[in-house]
């Protein structure tokens, strides 16, 4: 109980501290210390993951209590969250010296708040509590987007604003309907074969902003470091995936297999197919590298949601796999892409042509990241997709199969395109860098060269985890023996 309480309090306390303390040194220390403390506490909590623990604080209406709980699924989700958090913290720490202090402080504050909310979201014990924290997360996303992503006074700002509003409203309606149909809002198994439409509503509500990303991107700032919009997308995507996983694992555990073969889900898949197709086409033909990765991440989050549905139908015990895999894969893509983007912006280059010579390690990591999502690299993604493909063949899930093949094809094309650009030899490239060197401070240039090495330490760590994790999961080693 106490550990669960501490677990919920650590990030919140960190947020308040970073928000209100005026000492930047102390803030930096706390910012680094928070995920470490969080993970340390998780090791303590692992003892309760198997038998489960509840912390009930208030009686809420509709026969529920406000409180937190920990079980196997929550524990694994928290572990993924801890890994993402620590990655973000170290990455932000490394690039912070090249960013304005104001931006870094704001970014640190919003990132900490996001993780505090995601933590509460994972351990919340019913849908009402989840709705409460999710609304805060969406509000935070709005402010995140407002501060870092939109062009000020852009008329298109209304699209993301409206999207966030509709996302929260639809989720609210879904929770109300849950209460109406089942008489409670707890994460409990319900007799719900009649209410599959509700599950589709949950899907639409939770992934609303990923269903219209091509509209969403139009209002984004063109010159902003990739990490910022990446953080934004990973955080909002992770939050939605967490809720969807919990709903499928508990409330709809018995009827997920009915959903997969239901006609309403097929209609819905056709819509998702269309959206993924639009995203994929935009991803391939976009001249802007950031836009390409934006669409790629959107697609991966939607596909993870579909994977979660498949796992819920066929192998409920491994339902955490898509979310862990998606979190790690997206982080690897985004970190390696962020390194590129950062380099391009600092050296004021126009494209990534011939960058392999200058950023060999980053290029290799980027290729690894794309191979991982394909999935042609022996890591967590391949482990997860193995089960998905098995289910597709066993149950002849035509539409889902088409969607995954389409995704494979388009990522392959994107990978080829990027490899071509990276490996192509352009004579002017070295000159280009050198000419920009003239305008660039010599010390900073040296910093940046060393920086490439240090920046890739984190992607390397992520890659290592991705390779090792399936072994631990398959053979149930250490804390994965839950």
């Amino acid at each position: 109980m106490f550990l669960l309480f501490v677990n919920s309090v650590i990030p919140v306390f960190g947020y308040f501290f970073i928000g209100f303390s005026r000492s930047s040194k102390l803030n930096k220390m706390i910012f680094k210390l928070l995920p470490v403390l969080f993970l340390m506490n998780l090791f303590g909590l692992s003892a309760y993951a198997n038998k489960g623990a509840n912390l009930e604080i208030f009686n809420l209406f509709s026969n529920t209590t406000f409180g937190f709980n920990i079980d196997k699924l929550n524990f694994l989700l928290l572990l993924s969250l801890g890994l993402i958090w620590i990655t973000f913290v170290f990455h932000i720490n490394q690039i912070s010296k090249f960013l304005q202090e104001e931006i870094t402080d704001n970014l640190k504050l919003k990132i900490t708040a996001s993780f505090a909310l995601l933590n509460c979201l994972i351990i919340s014990n019913n849908l009402l509590t989840t709705l409460f924290f999710y609304s805060f997360l969406l509000l935070l996303n709005h402010f995140f987007a407002k501060d870092f992503l939109y062009e000020k006074n852009s008329k298109l700002c209304i699209i993301p604003k409206l999207s966030f509003y509709l996302q929260s409203f639809l989720f609210f309606v879904a929770v109300v309907l849950n209460d109406k149909f089942f008489g409670n809002v707890s994460f409990l198994l319900q007799n719900n074969s009649q209410h599959l439409n509700l599950l589709v509503l949950y899907f639409v509500a939770l992934f609303f902003i990923f269903l219209i990303p091509y509209l969403f991107y139009q209002s984004f700032k063109s010159s902003n470091i990739a990490l910022i919009y990446i953080s934004f997308f990973v955080i909002s995507g992770f939050g939605s995936l967490v809720i969807f996983t919990k709903i499928l694992k508990t409330i709809f555990a018995s009827s997920a297999s009915n959903l997969i073969v239901s006609s309403i889900f097929h209609y819905f898949l056709v819509i998702v197919f269309t959206i993924i197709l639009i995203n994929a086409v935009l991803m391939i033909f976009s001249k802007n590298l950031k836009a390409s990765f934006f669409y790629l991440i959107s697609n991966q989050i939607l596909l993870s949601a579909i994977s979660i549905t498949i796992f819920a139908s066929f192998d409920n015990s491994k339902i955490y796999l898509p979310i862990v895999s998606s979190a790690l894969s997206n982080i690897l893509i985004l970190l390696s892409f962020s390194n590129f983007n950062f380099y391009i912006e600092k050296l004021k280059l126009s494209s990534i042509k011939g960058m392999f010579d200058n950023l060999k390690i980053s290029s290799i990591f980027l290729i690894f990241a794309l191979l991982n999502v394909l999935p042609l690299f022996p890591a967590i993604s391949l482990y997860e997709k193995f089960f998905v493909i098995k289910a597709i063949f066993q149950k002849e899930l035509l539409w889902i199969g088409i969607i995954f093949v389409l995704n494979f094809f388009f990522i392959f094309v994107l990978g080829c395109k990027l490899s071509y650009f990276l490996l192509s030899k352009i004579e002017g490239n070295t000159k280009n860098i050198k000419s920009s060197d003239e305008n660039y401070n010599q010390n900073k240039q040296e910093d940046l060269t060393n920086f490439e090495l240090s920046l890739n330490l984190i992607p390397f760590a992520v890659l290592f985890i991705m390779i090792v994790l399936p072994i631990f999961l398959q053979f149930k080693i250490g804390i994965f023996a839950l």
């Binding site: 308040f16 928000g19 209100f20 005026r22 604080i57 208030f58 009686n59 809420l60 209406f61 509709s62 406000f66 009402l128 709705l131 409460f132 609304s135 709005h142 407002k146 604003k161 409206l162 509003y165 509709l166 409203f169 609210f172 309606v173 109300v176 309907l177 209460d179 109406k180």
Partner: protein
């Protein structure tokens, strides 16, 4: 103390206190009496509310016929709720404006003003507790006459006052005539007894009853709402008091009387009638919310802001009346609570800001200047205004959505809730962003910490009270449904 003696204390304490103030006309004593009486009445009303939740209905009648003024009473959840709301609102308004009375009233008028104000508590207690048609009219008359007397002292609008007084007298004659008709038809003035008899009415008498019903409601509403517009243009401090009294206390009486006569007096007849006019009410609501959502960009003064939120509230009230089932009446309860707490708080804050500036009405622009001390109460209010989970509007939407799913007008109702929430959220974001910009400049760390802690406390309070509010709303709805 037993429930019945508690109710008698609520009725007679203000009467004794006001008699005492007439006997000892010393300003300090009278003011102290008002403070003590109002605080005691709030405490007694809270106790009364708990009693009502336990016993459903508290009533007593010595069967003394028409002379039982103040001796017969019947308090259900609706009466107990409004009693507490009215006492609370009236006391807060008094505390808020005391300084203004002291500064602007002549010495000889001050005592009379305070005595009348105290006497109003008695009239209000009578209106909300009486169960006899005749007694209600007497208490309403006392209340209206004290309002005219207060207007005479505060506003010096002799001509207008007389005009409204004459109008009021004509309406009183009409109501007395209706009382006579009801006495002839039912041979009874007790509302509970009439409600039992009204279900026995023959179909041939139905049209007559509908006309009778319409005239009663119109007469009561015109009596209660008519002088609203006359004091609107006044800018003096005392007229602010008068406006708040009219908007919040008098409207509480008006809403209570309308609900009591519609649902308790006429029962099924009202529900049948509302069912027939439901399309019109829903269309009206949709038009109201859509119009004000389209006007969002032009919202730049606090008058606009109030028009906006009051019309949105009104639209939701129309919708709840149109559906008139258990859930919709629960939604109505939360809309009313929101109106009396949140709108009143906004009214106070904007009045304070307006007081400190020459630029009347343009509070939205003034907020951009040096009013950082108002930021944190506004932030708390924005939490409520944006219908955030566990705020009053959230509960209102929760029950309205539940009610909508039992109605044939589901798509329209869904649209109304979505649009009205959209307006609330966007207005809140607009105000929040204004405050945030100023806060960044002011660097008032203490204000930030205080606002967060206060918001935290409010959220915990909401969590803790959600179950109680749900039960209260259920009792409120049950006391209205025949």
């Amino acid at each position: 103390m037993s429930a019945i003696s508690n109710a008698y204390l609520i009725i007679f304490l203000p009467l004794i206190a006001s008699l005492f103030s007439f006997l000892v006309p010393k300003k300090k004593i009278v003011v102290t009496t008002i403070v003590l009486t109002s605080l005691s009445l709030i405490a007694l009303s809270c106790q009364n509310l708990l009693n009502v939740l336990a016993y459903k209905n508290i009533s007593n009648n010595f069967d003394l016929g028409q002379i039982s003024l103040g001796l017969e009473f019947s308090i259900s959840a609706i009466g107990a709720t409004f009693l507490l709301l009215a006492f609370f609102t009236k006391s807060i308004i008094f505390f808020f404006f005391t300084k203004d009375f002291e500064n602007s009233l002549e010495e000889k008028n001050k005592i009379v003003f305070y005595q009348l104000y105290l006497f109003q508590f008695f009239a209000i207690a009578g209106i909300f507790t009486a169960d006899s048609f005749f007694n209600i009219i007497i208490f309403v008359e006392i209340y209206i006459l004290t309002i005219f007397a207060l207007a005479e002292i505060l506003l010096n609008q002799n001509r207008n006052n007389w005009r409204y007084f004459l109008f009021n007298s004509l309406v009183t004659i009409l109501i007395l005539f209706l009382l006579l008709v009801s006495q002839i038809i039912f041979s009874e003035s007790n509302i509970s007894a009439i409600a039992e008899n009204i279900s026995l009415i023959l179909p041939s008498q139905l049209s007559f009853m509908i006309v009778f019903f319409a005239i009663i409601i119109l007469a009561l509403l015109s009596k209660m709402l008519f002088p609203y517009f006359s004091f609107k243009s006044e800018n003096s401090k005392t007229s602010k008091f008068f406006l708040s009294e009219l908007y919040f206390v008098k409207s509480a009486v008006a809403i209570f009387l309308t609900l009591k006569f519609s649902y308790v007096f006429f029962g099924n007849l009202t529900i049948e009638l509302l069912g027939k006019v439901a399309p019109f009410l829903i269309f009206l609501s949709l038009s109201l919310v859509s119009y004000f959502a389209l006007q969002l960009r032009k919202q730049n003064s606090y008058q606009n802001f109030f028009q906006h939120i009051i019309c949105n509230n009104l639209a939701i009230v129309f919708v709840t009346l149109a559906i008139s089932n258990l859930y919709s009446l629960q939604s109505l309860f939360f809309t009313i609570i929101n109106f009396f707490f949140i709108n009143l708080a906004f009214f106070f804050i904007f009045s304070l800001i307006e007081e400190k500036t020459d630029n009347k009405g343009q509070v939205f622009f003034i907020l951009k200047r040096n009013f950082s001390s108002f930021f944190f109460p506004i932030k708390i209010l924005l939490f409520f205004l944006s219908a955030f989970p566990l705020s009053f509007l959230f509960f209102s939407n929760w029950y309205l959505i539940k009610a909508a799913f039992d109605s044939i007008y589901l798509p329209l109702l869904f649209l109304i809730v979505a649009i009205s929430n959209f307006s609330y959220v966007f207005t809140s974001l607009k105000l929040f962003e204004m405050i945030e910009i100023e806060e960044e400049k002011s660097e008032n760390n203490f204000s930030n910490i205080a606002s967060f802690l206060l918001l935290f406390a409010v959220i915990i309070l909401l969590f803790a009270s959600s179950d109680f509010l749900k039960n209260l709303s259920l009792e409120f709805a049950l006391s209205l449904i025949p």
